[in-house]
Symmetry: D2
């Protein structure tokens, strides 16, 4: 190493040859918070906040990647970081980081307006979502939409064997899908909620609470039932290409959770 002085030339250490010629599968930045604009099914714009990861591959001959460029690219899309820009961002990343493949993951809160089933009292429901997008050497694209849907599950066994009532609880369904055509987050939420004992609501007045309690009691579901019903509905949807469905139920009679997972035959982890 040269003697350092104030006048030292600022060497590009990252571009030096790697000591060990090993291909790096993914290299980049993680947990970058960033404002995100999402268009919803009502054609309205939602402002939300995303936590973003961005990676490229690194050929074996280069020592390091230039991490600041990821953030620079992201900033150029500030104010217009919407879904339809994702491949433009990935293309920029590939080009400016001289990479063969580029990956972008963005997790964010998505809101839907929801009315109570009897009173019509409205409020906002949050759904945690994630986009997982990749662009590889030959321009091959991959896009996985992840939607987490909180629901109510009421136990069929508990209902069957008990004189009255049944244990029920909050559960989370995590649906990961690859799509043939555009599918709105609202559509995935709809498919999943149809399979639950009940949807959840931000506001319920007394008449609504009566309705939801009785409705859930009329639709008991194991985590296994929910996962299977969601799979059958996704199989029947021509716009859904592949899926992984995970149901995790925060059992109200245990302190551990019940879990079921169904994957379509053509599912590959992103």
């Amino acid at each position: 190493m040269p003697k350092k002085q104030e006048t030292v030339e600022l060497r590009d250490v990252q571009s030096q040859p790697a000591e060990h010629p090993v291909v790096i599968h993914k290299v980049g930045v993680r947990s970058v918070p960033f404002p995100l604009v999402v268009m919803d099914k009502e054609h309205e714009v939602q402002h939300t906040v995303a936590l973003i990861n961005m990676y490229v591959d690194l050929p074996k001959q280069f020592r390091g990647t230039h991490m600041s460029r990821f953030i620079e690219i992201l900033n150029e899309y500030r104010g217009v970081f919407v879904v339809r820009n994702i491949y433009a961002i990935l293309k920029d990343i590939k080009k400016r980081l001289k990479a063969e493949s580029a990956h972008l993951e963005a997790s964010f809160s998505y809101f839907m307006n929801r009315k109570a089933p009897v009173s019509g009292s409205a409020g906002l429901m949050e759904f945690r979502c994630q986009f997982i997008a990749s662009l590889n050497g030959e321009g091959r694209r991959d896009f996985v939409l992840v939607v987490e849907v909180p629901v109510n599950t009421l136990c069929p066994c508990s209902k069957e064997i008990s004189v009255k009532s049944a244990h029920n609880q909050r559960a989370i369904v995590r649906a990961k899908t690859r799509l043939r055509k555009l599918v709105w987050i609202e559509d995935i939420v709809g498919i999943v909620e149809e399979c639950a004992s009940s949807r959840l609501f931000p506001v319920l007045k007394r008449e609504d609470e009566k309705y939801v309690t009785e409705h859930a009691y009329s639709r008991p579901r194991f985590v296994e039932d929910m996962a299977r019903q969601a799979a059958v509905r996704m199989d029947a949807d021509p716009n859904i290409l592949a899926y992984q469905i995970e149901v995790e139920s925060f059992e109200s009679i245990h302190s551990h959770n019940a879990y079921a997972e169904v994957i379509s035959e053509n599912w590959v982890s992103p």
Copy 2:
């Protein structure tokens, strides 16, 4: 600053005078993982893992504390870090860090054996606990026991207005207590669980699930009811000096939680 050389004397920078003469309320180490031995009510020894924080005050004339000494002291109690040693540890901390006050917080998992109510099938239930202990200048001691108890709450309103069933869910009760005499973790758990719609169980066979479902339905509780009942029981226990009770219910019909908090008149946050 002197020119540094390999032969430089290792100055005690921490003992230098502070630039600004400001008393530091707490200074120390956080999130130190450490094995902990706890004696349970059955007089058996439990091995668990704690996450530990340790602090002292720092008089305004000293620049820094000697953080390595906290870990050294902890290591001397390795294998015998049991509850009854806490004040001995605090005394050592005060002495070796030349402090007026010393604080130790230890969070850990505590297990209790539990039998299903009908079949008797047994399993282990975990309760998250914390000790918060302090020793101040005049040798005054403070000890707060925190016990988190997961329970089932069944909604009285939902039961009252619905033809059948009622929404119910897992809830967490966090009980913080100051004690007059020794109270076992098992005793706090017992007080709290008596106030719930039902206790939780690690193993339930069909006959147990029937029992628990019907039992919970016969004991509907709002978070407000649970907090108040726990307060009344703690007021009646001569060994409990002061308390804060927090009940947080993971509502099965909403994606947000319901919360109630009752404190005794003499409660002071540790």
Copy 3:
């Protein structure tokens, strides 16, 4: 309890008398996600997402509070939930829940544009913030602003005793303040960052990385130093009434953290 039928009148169970006449300190809803609009110092509007808790007290004669009303009130402020509305929201809560006191806590991401120190490359920095606001029986207001500032701390002891270099690391400063007059989040961030070895940046080019490395090396700081300097600056600011400053440093030579806390004499936990 009456035999229930489909035609049962929907009783207001919450308004029934409490079984145990115990005052409930806080009762309400927790972890409600909600879009929030914040005005920043540049007089521009930021759209962000908050996680919200809302509570009231509950007199000893009532069994329960009406939780759906919290969410209804929140929804009425949809699109205009900005800081200056907080007391209007609290007033509404007090009135419609017939309570003596009302509390609102909102945690959210706040973004500031930041330029690199030499190249001027710009990007967004996130700061996690929280508003903790209360309104009590006599109209007495309390407002605590919490700002979390990630910074770099470079160890003075390590620098002093080592021939070259010094261990440094990311740290988080959590500043809780009560204010006499309006203080912008930007101002709190500025006070805290002035006390660090260095600010953090979203984008740094090589010339910036050189600057930041050398700048941090010229300003070594213990967690104790940072906490004290922040206290001195807050004492000197006529707009800051009271404060609690916590510095937690994710030590790069240990797997545990270093911690220091200074409170002003008139600080009371919210």
Copy 4:
């Protein structure tokens, strides 16, 4: 559904035929806390606490699995739940749940004694570990060992371009390995730490802090360098069959993280 009475026979709802004949990939229990005994390289027994997930597959003709059996089986191994029992547990699960495949995941804290490099001051270092084990229809076994190693990384670019010092920080290396023969957790930790700028220590006196600071400065490492060096060492170890290495560095000059991942050619996600 039959009219329910107190004398109702307790039907086995889980064994009923499934409404939709969909194979369930994984069904079971999650987040079960349980005491675990681990043998370490010094041939001493460590008591720790694990968080356990257990799953089986579910053929398309059955509606549900019998979740209580997972916990019953776990309890039978209480006090002797050591690594070498994992396949016995999986065999029991397969048999008693009449499944083709069984999976067990156990995450736990593992402690190693560590002496400071100059003073020899000793303390305990925690490493978060996970076992991921499966047994499939034909008795085929899969075992993945996950070890998380916190380390120090000092930036080569920052060192090269700065007159003095370099930014450094805590990083986490997550090494997932499939093994040909027994490899101790201590061995994986050793391989990973050799690739870092420096190991971390529970206790460091002044002379140790000088050593660690200077040692790290003499061994600058990008996340890319660390991932590649670990890959080269694992390739050279005849006992390691396949691996995934993830390095995440909590950059001390940014509030986001740097990340690099290398996988061996034969790596398959468990």
